[in-house]
Symmetry: C2
Subunit: 323 residues, 2 copies
């Protein structure tokens, strides 16, 4: 962190997004690329991605002729979920009941697509810096016929820990962080937010329920309300850190589902990862390049320093405080 | 690749870099952050990074009190290597003998630091988009007291393949790609360049010697000349793809060295990875975000399509052709 920065600064953010733009395919009443017209939705709105990366009928690559050349079909569906009818809000600027509606929609889509697919990946790319090409508040849901790489790694680690220690890895981890305190960012009746011991991004966080919960649909109404409230607090702190609409990718991980949903997945604990790129300011990011790509992640500040900075930030959004 | 792109475009490149800037700490004769004055070097120039991420005397974190909280000291040294005295050139604009001098310097620094450290990571971050904060042509060398994560994974895979199949994984892989041809980009007497079967970045490539070579210092003079020439061709194709100074991170991987250098590392094959971010144009990159960070890499074009486009490009640099 001591070296002077003469490298790339990110282009400034669009400061004014119109509340409604009839040409934005994510807005209520707009026409999408496939010719469909969006309803005049008033809460969340889920629809099929017009440019899906996964398709239900992807062809099989056929048998492999060599151990080093193995390919498999990747089948699935890709959906888009709008969080709100307005384009000029983001989650931290929405009300707790509006965020609660998003939580409910996440739980429903997990159930709906989880009836058929073993993995339902909910993720939000927020901000142009994170490859988001549309400012309207939304996330994506990609359900797949296979466990993706990261899911497989989490499955292996959690299964091994449970069989060695007799309890879920992330239950013990959360309990330890509550005792140790120096990586905690926020706690509430039902949830914890912390900068994980293994964080690679400067202000990376992990959001964990206190109770043993395997998947989003299992959350009780009280846990869902509390989740909406702690998410609003976390995302407000993020925006306040550099007084900007803080970019990130985030996503939920829970136990595999689909036809194997009935198996024993008790080693899994539901959680969300937040991966935000900013390091020094609203325009200077951490670059995961050279050494990180070729050798190993290395941090510019410690997780404890990051947690301390996030803890100290107000829970009132800098754009709402002036009122 | 079919979806319209309304997302972030990268800021335009600095088009004119002065050949010599007395305030640039990488230039001959300039004063660095620690007060040292650079020699008036005429070829390559190696010096200690003034802001090292690894230090030889990093303190030990002490014993761990819990299986989930394990830390170890990371010791090492960080060096910077300038490729050329001029700031306004890049490797593809340098002559083959000048690039050969870089290859020799890479081999020497591997030997020098490999006398003490088990892993010597040579890497180049090229371009502001890849977090490079100084336009002067240079790379970095970070030597560490441990095998970094990626090195450990390559060690495991290559060792397992050798013990199962009796020959180095990357020797068989290179031979197969020569037979299959559709992922080849360039071949020469001693080297291959291909878009690997497992590529995640759009125009990612792998550079492999044809002979079984474990580390850079083992390369013969003829192999070094040929490497300089094939690197010039590859990097010229890269620049020609979007008529820009093509950004990338690249680095060398070879057998571990240090005090264990004498052990049997015959399962290792020397290679370089090139990870370039651009996807559609000089200003529109691939974003490795949401799904990629939380689930699995997914490509926007196939490795075969990428190889075909690179193969078709001229081997004369677009900025040198006009002469
Ligand atoms: O050492 P530099 O060029 O200042 O820094 C660059 O390379 C490092 C090693 O890959 C990264 O950790 C930094 O994020 C990046 O900006
Ligand atoms: O689907 P989008 O928002 O167009 O695209 C974005 O998210 C995808 C999933 O993480 C990435 O593969 C793309 O590189 C990124 O630009």
């Amino acid at each position: 962190m001591k070296r002077p920065w003469q490298g790339q600064v990110e282009p400034p953010l669009l400061t004014t997004v119109p509340r409604h733009d009839p040409h934005n395919p994510l807005c209520p009443g707009a026409t999408r690329a496939n010719g469909e017209v969006n309803p005049h939705y008033e809460g969340t709105f889920l629809f099929d991605n017009d440019f899906p990366a996964l398709q239900p009928d992807a062809p099989s690559p056929g048998p492999s002729d060599h151990p080093l050349f193995q390919a498999e079909a990747a089948r699935g569906v890709c959906k888009v979920m709008c969080f709100h009818p307005w384009s000029d809000v983001t989650l931290p600027l929405m009300s707790v009941p509006e965020i609660r509606a998003v939580v409910d929609a996440w739980a429903s889509v997990t159930e709906e697509l989880g009836a058929q697919y073993p993995w339902v990946q909910i993720f939000e790319n927020k901000g142009a810096m994170m490859g988001c090409s549309n400012p309207h508040p939304h996330c994506q849901v990609w359900a797949s016929s296979f466990l993706p790489d990261v899911a497989q790694r989490e499955e292996r680690s959690q299964r091994a820990y449970q069989s060695q220690h007799g309890e879920p890895l992330l239950m013990e981890y959360g309990r330890q962080e509550l005792l140790r305190k120096d990586r905690l960012v926020l706690t509430s009746e039902h949830w914890l937010v912390l900068v994980p011991f293994w964080a690679v991004w400067p202000f990376q966080t992990l959001l964990l329920p206190r109770r043993h919960v395997r998947r989003l649909p299992e959350l009780t109404p009280a846990e869902r309300d509390d989740l909406a409230s702690i998410m609003k607090k976390l995302l407000t702190k993020y925006d306040n850190l550099f007084e900007t609409s803080f970019p990130y990718s985030m996503g939920w991980h829970g136990a595999p589902i689909g036809s194997e949903a009935g198996a024993n997945w008790d080693h899994w604990q539901l959680h969300a990862h937040y991966y935000p790129p900013l390091l020094r300011s609203a325009t200077v990011r951490k670059f995961m390049v050279g050494y990180e790509m070729l050798a190993q992640a290395q941090r510019d500040l410690t997780p404890e320093q990051a947690a301390e900075r996030l803890r100290a930030l107000p829970e009132v959004h800098y754009r709402l405080g002036q009122k």
